[in-house]
């Protein structure tokens, strides 16, 4: 299987006195698609940023392993973070030299042929995220980190983007970690769902369902119930309102 293997051992992260992650252990197999869900502020994004190397952990060890050379990690954010003064094509080749032809190919793959010379201002939210996806994929990353990349999109565009992501990964498999607040999205796309709560992994569900998956799948519906229960535990612990 292509892609990087991710290994976390006793990883902790605090912001001042507030501890976000507490001695977290995690193994992700190469090529696995892992979704991370959890209540707001549970440290989902923090976990992803630690793996991306954008922030340093307060303690613990994070390893990436790839056969051959050093692992290449790319992250996609909830905001597209396109450079508005660069055309679509020049955004995709950011940090690369002389890869314009390849960028054109990737833009075609994400359905943006003919828009190479447009500025991001002329694109819709979904199109901008497609550019951001193309920009991440041109590096052929061994590990793709997605921090709620479709969270700000409308339902139809989101479904289209999920399909696109699945298609692109079918052609070129790689390890993916997706942070999402959408349990359904997690179940549609991933091989494994982690529920992060109180600084650790509260639930770790691995499942194997044939793709493409359908929203109506009763097996997934049952998993969704289970995960939503897990998500709501924290709320149930609150004192009941009379």
């Amino acid at each position: 299987m292509s892609g990087a293997e991710v290994r976390l051992r006793a990883v902790s992260k605090s912001f001042g006195a507030r501890e976000v992650l507490n001695r977290l252990d995690l193994d992700v197999a190469a090529g696995q698609f892992v979704s991370i869900i959890g209540p707001s502020g549970a440290g989902k994004s923090t976990l992803l940023r630690l793996i991306a190397g954008l922030d340093a952990p307060t303690g613990g060890r994070i390893e990436l392993r790839t056969a051959g050379n050093k692992s290449d990690v790319r992250m996609m954010f909830q905001e597209d973070r396109l450079l508005p003064w660069r055309t679509v094509l020049r955004n995709v080749v950011l940090g690369l030299k002389g890869r314009e032809n390849q960028a054109t190919g990737i833009l075609r793959a994400v359905g943006l042929q003919g828009r190479e010379n447009d500025f991001p201002i002329g694109l819709s939210g979904g199109q901008r995220q497609r550019v951001a996806l193309a920009r991440a994929l041109i590096h052929e990353p061994d590990l793709l980190l997605l921090d709620e990349p479709f969270g700000a999109l409308d339902a139809i565009t989101r479904a289209t983007m999920q399909l696109l992501l699945e298609q692109l990964l079918a052609v070129r498999p790689r390890t993916v970690m997706l942070v999402t607040h959408d349990v359904e999205e997690a179940l549609l796309l991933s091989d494994r769902v982690l529920l992060v709560r109180d600084g650790g992994i509260a639930r770790d569900l691995a499942f194997d369902r044939p793709r493409p998956r359908h929203r109506g799948d009763p097996y997934l519906a049952a998993l969704k119930e289970e995960l939503l229960d897990g998500l709501l535990v924290a709320e149930r612990d609150l004192p009941a309102v009379a």
Binding site: L94, G95, I121
Partner: protein
């Protein structure tokens, strides 16, 4: 599951009720139809705004006010309502300009003034930009320079005129240096501010996509700070001309300022007003140039994008 079926039954019931409500006839009240739009594709001739929204509007409309004022001014002077001894008629100013141009004086004075502004502005803006870049980019440099520069900034640079004359005499230097000092700070402040306000998310993105420090500055920080920097440059150009007016009143032998001084001694009001108009035109032209540069460099920006093609 029972919850779901219950709620769907409720929805069905609600839908039925809504449907039956629709069937009840509406009595009495006449129906008011408000047409928001009714456009036949391809027929643009019927658009009511076509005369006012034409391509020539942005070219002609801005001239309407100045030219109209000129016409009013000329007619008031011609009828004697405005005494030409206080304010000369536009035609007299035009004649004065022609006479000066025939002797070659006008062209030389304009060129001399332009040269002073150009050199002084270039020196000041470049220095301001360089200082701004280093102060904006490097914390230690900011700690070292910013306080001092902010203190110097609060001195009105025109207060330095006597000092300049004592130091540099009455040659070109004091004038050019004054213009440079006037242009320096607007560019400096806007450059520092622009760089410090760059979205940290974009900087983080640049770093995570492997941009080195130089590339990060060139590809992310500078373009992001460009708009405020250009605002600073536009403002600095205005200050440059303002400073020149004062600078050229110091024992000048040429330049537009000399024209004014000389005309005052000879009681030539027409030439004084001519000089004022020249300053106005010069300021407008230099602003126009920076606006064109702005439009070219910021064509990706939402506020400038709509201007493309005009």
């Amino acid at each position: 599951m029972t919850d779901a079926s219950l709620s769907s039954a409720q929805i069905l019931g609600a839908a039925k009720r809504a449907g039956s409500a629709e069937q009840t006839p509406i009595r009495g009240e006449p129906v008011v139809v408000t047409v928001i739009a009714d456009v036949v594709a391809g027929k643009t001739g019927s658009r009511p705004s076509s005369a006012f929204g034409a391509w020539w509007r942005p070219l002609l409309l801005p001239w309407l006010l100045p030219l109209g004022l000129l016409a009013v001014w000329q007619s008031l002077s011609a009828t004697g309502l405005i005494s030409t001894a206080i304010v000369p008629a536009p035609y007299e100013i035009w004649t004065a300009a022609r006479q000066l141009a025939e002797r070659g004086e006008l062209q030389i004075d304009i060129l001399v003034s332009l040269r002073r502004v150009a050199i002084g502005f270039f020196m000041g803006a470049t220095t301001g930009l360089l200082f701004g870049l280093f102060v904006g980019l490097f914390e230690p440099v900011r700690d070292l320079f910013d306080r001092s520069l902010q203190m110097v900034r609060t001195i009105p640079h025109l207060a330095l005129v006597p000092l300049m004359i004592l130091w540099f005499g009455i040659g070109e230097e004091p004038r050019v240096i004054l213009v440079a000092m006037g242009s320096l700070f607007p560019v400096y402040i806007n450059t520092v501010g622009g760089i410090r306000n760059v979205d940290p998310k974009l900087i983080e993105l640049g770093k995570s996509y492997g941009l080195g420090p130089a590339e990060l500055v060139w590809s992310v920080i500078l373009p992001a700070a460009l708009q405020p920097i250009l605002v600073g440059i536009r403002y600095a150009l205005g200050v440059a001309w303002l400073t020149l007016v004062v600078g050229e009143t110091i024992a000048s032998r040429d330049g537009i300022g000399y024209l004014v001084q000389n005309a005052r001694e000879l009681l030539r009001i027409d030439v004084i007003v001519l000089a004022i108009i020249l300053y106005a035109i010069a300021g407008w032209l230099s602003d126009l140039v920076t606006r064109l540069i702005e439009q070219r460099l910021l064509r990706w920006h939402p506020n400038y994008a709509r201007r493309i093609g005009t």
